[in-house]
């Protein structure tokens, strides 16, 4: 067994007996963005909490619109306790504006008092740039981090990456400008206000360049990429594969290479799952009408292992990207105190089927694929 726990990590490895030295022992995975309430049948929260845990993801951060809009300390507390009953450490973002409408500031101080790790307007638009600017200024007073999912709504009216593949299929495109225009503006506002910011689910080359630029200027910014963006491209929507319908969309090969490079050189700090479990009927319709989203908890560790196999990251770098850095970004100060560990077999083969996936959402374009890498055991 290869012990990839930090040297200071409080975990007794004596009780772990394993017959191979190829397994990895890592800290619990921290997922910076997953949705637990998206399935819509009222039972998904519990089920998806359990699915996360079984896949080694003991800490999950959810956006403010996962379920009821989180804009009060009491709601935040209630949801967190519900997850804790299932053994999951839930870390939530609160609303940046009231009802996420982008018009009036939310009660950010109350939200922070309720234990929110940050505030965000999710993917909802701001009425104008002044609201955004004032929201950041106000949030700065309470020293709370702002999470962005960069997106300019007026440019993102399509359903797939604005390139040849979408064009050939007659699908309305979403240009990479929809992301970078918003991101550039947000980085400038971070510089102006001095707020700490995290940019989630970047998809394109120029976004990596913009974050690189911001970091070079010494701005307090971090960013992540969704795991599936490192393995899929817009080629995967070929034949109107609704399971490859995600938002933000799968981008080009060039973008994917830039994301992998940004991950390797440290520009991209973390990898999230962007898990969005959906029902079969959500995908059982023409591509453009299907609901965007991918079920990712079950494939997350396998794809992470593949990044190491592909030489994108070393195993210790992987631990930084999916465990340690996300914990720092989420401000989980008691991460090591909570402790625990995850034992992974990076070589264990398994086939992705509707039966082998634990999540209620079977919406993954990896269905039918053989992947390598599985959680063997999770220690609390």
């Amino acid at each position: 067994m290869k012990n990839l726990l930090p040297k200071t990590w409080q975990f007794d490895t004596k009780n772990i007996t394993t017959d191979t030295n190829e397994k990895w022992l890592i800290p619990p995975i921290v997922d910076l963005c997953a949705r637990l309430n998206k399935f819509g049948d009222g039972t998904s929260f519990t089920h998806e909490c359990q699915t996360a845990i079984k896949n080694g993801i003991l800490h999950v951060c959810t956006p403010p619109d996962d379920g009821a809009v989180r804009e009060s300390s009491s709601l935040l507390k209630e949801v967190r306790e519900k997850a804790a009953n299932h053994g999951l450490n839930l870390h939530m973002l609160g609303a940046l504006t009231q009802g996420l409408k982008g018009e009036k500031l939310a009660n950010i101080a109350d939200i922070k008092a309720g234990g929110a790790i940050g505030v965000s307007n999710a993917r909802f638009a701001f009425a104008n740039d002044e609201v955004l600017l004032r929201a950041l200024e106000y949030a700065k007073a309470f020293d709370i981090k702002v999470f962005f999912y960069p997106d300019e709504p007026s440019l993102s009216k399509g359903v797939a990456h604005d390139g040849y593949i979408a064009s050939y299929h007659g699908l309305a495109g979403i240009p990479w400008l929809a992301e970078t225009v918003a991101l550039a503006k947000q980085i400038l506002m971070v510089e102006e206000t001095g707020i700490c910011a995290h940019f989630s689910q970047l998809t394109c080359r120029t976004s990596v360049d913009l974050v690189r630029f911001g970091k070079a200027r010494g701005l307090p910014i971090t960013c992540d990429v969704a795991m599936h963006q490192l393995f899929l491209t817009d080629d995967d929507i070929e034949g109107y594969n609704a399971n490859a319908h995600v938002y933000p969309p799968l981008r080009s090969n060039t973008d994917q290479r830039a994301l992998r490079q940004g991950l390797a050189d440290g520009t991209i700090d973390a990898i999230c799952s962007h898990h969005e479990p959906l029902s079969s009927t959500d995908k059982l319709m023409p591509f453009a009408e299907s609901v965007a989203g991918i079920s990712n908890f079950d494939t997350f560790v396998s794809l992470a292992c593949q990044l190491v196999a592909d030489g994108v990251l070393t195993d210790t770098q992987l631990v930084e990207k999916i465990c340690l850095n996300p914990a720092n970004i989420a401000g989980i100060t008691d991460y090591e105190q909570i402790g625990g560990a995850v034992l992974i077999d990076p070589n264990q083969a398994w086939q992705v089927t509707k039966q082998s996936i634990l999540s209620k959402g079977k919406n993954t374009p990896f269905l039918g694929d053989e992947l390598f890498g599985k959680v063997v055991q999770t220690f609390f």
């Binding site: 007659g170 109107y240 059982l284 319709m285 023409p286």
Partner: protein, 324 residues
Amino acid sequence: MSKPQITASGGIRHFLGVEGLGRTQLENIIDKAMGYFDADGRLINTDELAGKTVMNLFFENSTRTRTTFEAAQKRLGANVLNLDIARSSTSKGESLSDTLWNLEAMSSDMFVVRHSSSGAAHFMATQVTPNVAIINAGDGWHAHPTQAMLDMLTIHREVVQKGKAFDDLSVAIVGDIKHSRVARSDICALQTLGVKDLRVIAPRTLLPKGIERYGVNVCDNINQGVVDCDVIIGLRIQNERIGSPLLPSTSEYFKHYGINEHRLNLAKPNAIVMHPGPMNRGVEIASDVADGEQSVILKQVNNGIAVRMAVMAMAMRGQEQSKG
């Protein structure tokens, strides 16, 4: 693009798009359609679909296309059902799959489908097999394959039969390429049939992303784009594009991209002018060109019936072969 529309022996199982079909298959459709004209050039009746039930499912409104399909179905001897589907099942919240499964249970043999979503016909083909053939009558911006094949039949009758091969033709498509299912299918069909000099003419706002990968020559100046063309295909400009961020006004569009007599004179002397209809006279085409001697627009409509007869007959044959 996957090929759910081809049988094991290379026949047509569904007709979802032109892409994925080879030159021989397209030529077979043209030959088959030519067989539906008598010696005087009039359409004939056959009993190739006798005893078969064909349902026209137009989730998106269309009078012209639906009527020509219905005319073709009746000439083939089919039982025809026109369903006002947009105002019935789907408006009550029924899913597309459920609608299809219910209609399939009514012993339908073929669905002719028009839908506003690109890929809808492909999706339906995955839902109804193995008992029903799907004919795509237009899906979103993606494809309008029977329109493309009637355009190919028209070019065949008006140009190729008069001595010039598809391989040697210069064809210009003018107008809203970006949002046009006709343009996508025409480009694919023309290239499959061997056309090498294929030009698309439009302002940048009406060109799709990645147009350079289509293997066409892109031109934003119509006066240059139509020079020495054998065929000019005009596309309809939808009203909602005018005054949007895509186009400023009808007058400016007509001035800079309209097919007028001056521009027609820049093409080959016997060049033909085509348009899928309905036309916006004075927007994408001048009336004197639309009604002029070089216009074959009304012939396209007549050819449309023959092509739709051919496609439906071939798909039904492929369907029966697949069932064994």
